[in-house]
Amino acid sequence: MSYSRRRILLAGAGAVAAPHLISSGALAQGGGKFTPEKGATLRVLRPTKFVDPDEAIFRENSEAFTKATGIPVRVDFAGWEDLRPQTAVSANTGAGPDVIVGWTDDPHLYADKLVDLTDLAGYLGDKYGGWYPLAELYGKKNGTNQWICIPMGGSGGPAVYRESWVKEAGFNGVPKDLDGFLKLCQALKKNNHPSGFALGNAVGDGNSFCNWLVWAHGGFMVDEKGKVSINSKETIAALKYGRELYQTFIPGTLSWNDTSNNKALTAGEIGLTQNGVSLYFSIKNAKDAETAKIGADLNHARMPIGPAGRSTETALVVNAMVFKHSKYPNAAKAYLQWMMDQDQYDKWLTGCFGYWAQPLKAYAKSKVWESDPKITLYRDTMENALWYGYKGPITEATGAVNAEYVMVQMVASACSGQATPEDAAAEAERRAKRYYRA
């Protein structure tokens, strides 16, 4: 019943003229302890939508915050490629948005420029069943219990496949082991429905495939202490496997970017790839009847588990950070609390079909995950996924190695035969060491 009480209170408060009264009243009712500064205004920067409702509902929720508190909020949307540089410039110059919903490791690069969010994270964790492991990892400053950002959601990348074609190839779903997976890909290729995984400089898809491949075989870029360990027999085994797998791909994956597999799957050119839930929804809801038919034939599965013995998918996590240069840190905290609270968050999660899977455990019960059995897999994104730079701590080097596509290019050059697996691993080690030297 708290829902309706809250609504009534907000409506009542909205009628009162004094803005600071409204804000503290409304948020105190929600259980928050953040009293926004007088005359606060907020600027928020976040990545642009991949599914339409993402932007629409995010704006709606922000407007509702303005209505409830009298604090004007301006939300800007930056292209995925541009968000990193914009975050960097804002952090570097000490000007710009108060809140940036940035990519994965960015908060860790600017940790000492961010407002401590431990109180807010603690409050949200207590209220919503605790944070998932990946959320804690990204949220807390390395090796401490201090929260530097509020993870808002993660986009996972399990296998997306055409059910009928997999069946035609003689398989009942995507095999859970590496051998079976290779056999499936070979059979798909034979039937002229090849698989396709991005091997180009693709921020999301390239990293999710290449990291999965190497991690599944027990390889990793750096160990727990941050020592470069990529040149290992596990990595070489992974690259040899990758080379065989590559033979089954559709031609051209070396130049694929983040949208290429979406285009190829939508056009019926490939039968298996890795992607976020957006692909399924864009096909299912396509206006073109032919395309929509493909939607009924699509399904999702976990990528196979290798000798590493655990799922090695990764997730693209968005983390909200409040910069110290903001004049209104409390208003920013109140805003984030508002966006993460059930009334707003569940609407966003549901509206986006679970595209940004929840970082807080209570939202696993959201209706969205029952709305379509085919997407249930994405519910556990933040529970299972590993982070970029696994197994090491998240540092500046992690981001730099990622931005240089060291892992992706190692896999790409070995798969395509431009380098032997041994050379590719040695080259990756050399390149990673340039950044992990300090």
Partner: protein, 317 residues
């Protein structure tokens, strides 16, 4: 007369220092130059100086750096990706510039003839140049797409000349040539229009004289058109080399340096290291390495092509 003299002497002391100040030539020169110099200092000298300074520090995004001397450059010398990007940039610049000039000159010669709808044609020619680079890059990205390329479609599905789609951007050399072709397409109009302007300044009487002397078409081109075009050619070449050498958008939008770094130019690598990679110092160092190349290219264009005696009217050497 007296009245005039009175008013003259009365007004003089009031305006004296101000009027004299504004009458002083050095002051006026300084005054008029200040805004221009100010703009140059703030928007050109300062960023350039800062960039050079950053190249000698280990600055990262979000954290200022300390002076580390030539460490960035030493580490770059050992970096195969960087060395490849230098090679790519030189190749890209040389081949694309030659292509642009050959085709641009040819186009300019064609347009210099009397053709119907001349003005309209010249306007259309400019389209590739005025289209925002990113837009044309996206168009090329589709043209070069491994699955949906129009070229592959025509060759394979319409004409049946090939069995498989061309992997334009998936292999290093294909990708390099594809990018060079895109750059040439974009650069031709600039060269063609500038050279056309140069061609139109050549007096027809020179051609008439050459014809009277019995010169054929090639000889007229070689001994009249070329020398007369040299000064503008030198300027256009310099600009074209600078634009091509520092090209960023085409490559970044089409391949982002891939496949496996084989199309990285120094500009794209500098950006990738400096901004998404966070290594500001290293990115700045790559950008600084571009400066000597640019100065060399400029000097070459000027000294090799522009400093000819005929410019002073002393005949061709």
């Amino acid at each position: 007369m007296t009245a005039t003299a009175d008013s003259w002497s009365a007004s003089e002391p009031r305006a004296s220092w101000l009027a004299r100040l504004f009458d002083s030539k050095p002051f006026l020169i300084a005054l008029c130059l200040t805004p221009a110099i100010g703009l140059l200092m703030v928007f050109l000298t300062y960023p350039l100086g800062l960039g050079i300074w950053l190249a000698f520090t280990d600055a990262r995004i979000g954290r200022g750096g300390v002076f580390i001397g030539f460490e960035n450059f030493e580490s770059l010398l050992q970096d195969r990706v960087f060395l490849m990007s230098v090679g790519n940039t030189v190749l890209y610049t040389v081949v694309a510039t030659i292509g642009k000039f050959a085709l641009g000159l040819w186009l300019a010669l064609l347009l210099n003839h009397h053709v119907p709808f001349k003005a309209l044609l010249r306007a259309i020619i400019l389209v590739p140049w005025i289209t925002p680079t990113v837009l044309s890059a996206i168009a090329f990205w589709w043209i070069y797409d491994p699955q949906f390329s129009i070229i592959s479609y025509v060759l394979v599905d319409v004409l049946g000349w090939r069995d498989s789609y061309i992997d334009f951007l998936g292999t290093p050399w294909h990708a390099r040539w594809s990018l060079i072709a895109a750059n040439i397409w974009r650069g031709i109009p600039f060269v063609a229009i500038c050279l056309l302007a140069g061609l139109q300044t050549i007096s027809p009487s020179l051609y008439e004289a050459a014809m009277l002397d019995g010169a054929n078409a090639w000889q007229r081109f070689r001994h009249v058109t070329m020398p007369m075009l040299m000064p503008i050619l030198a300027v256009v070449l310099t600009f074209s080399v600078l634009f091509t050498f520092t090209d960023f958008q085409l490559v970044y939008a089409i391949t982002r340096g891939g496949p496996v770094n084989s199309t990285h130019l120094m500009a794209t690598l500098a950006f990738q290291r400096g901004i998404p990679g966070g290594q500001l110092g290293e990115g700045a160092a790559i950008a600084v390495v571009m400066i000597p190349f640019l100065i060399l290219a400029t000097l070459f264009s000027y000294f090799a092509l522009a400093r000819r005696k005929w410019q002073q009217g002393e005949g061709n050497d």
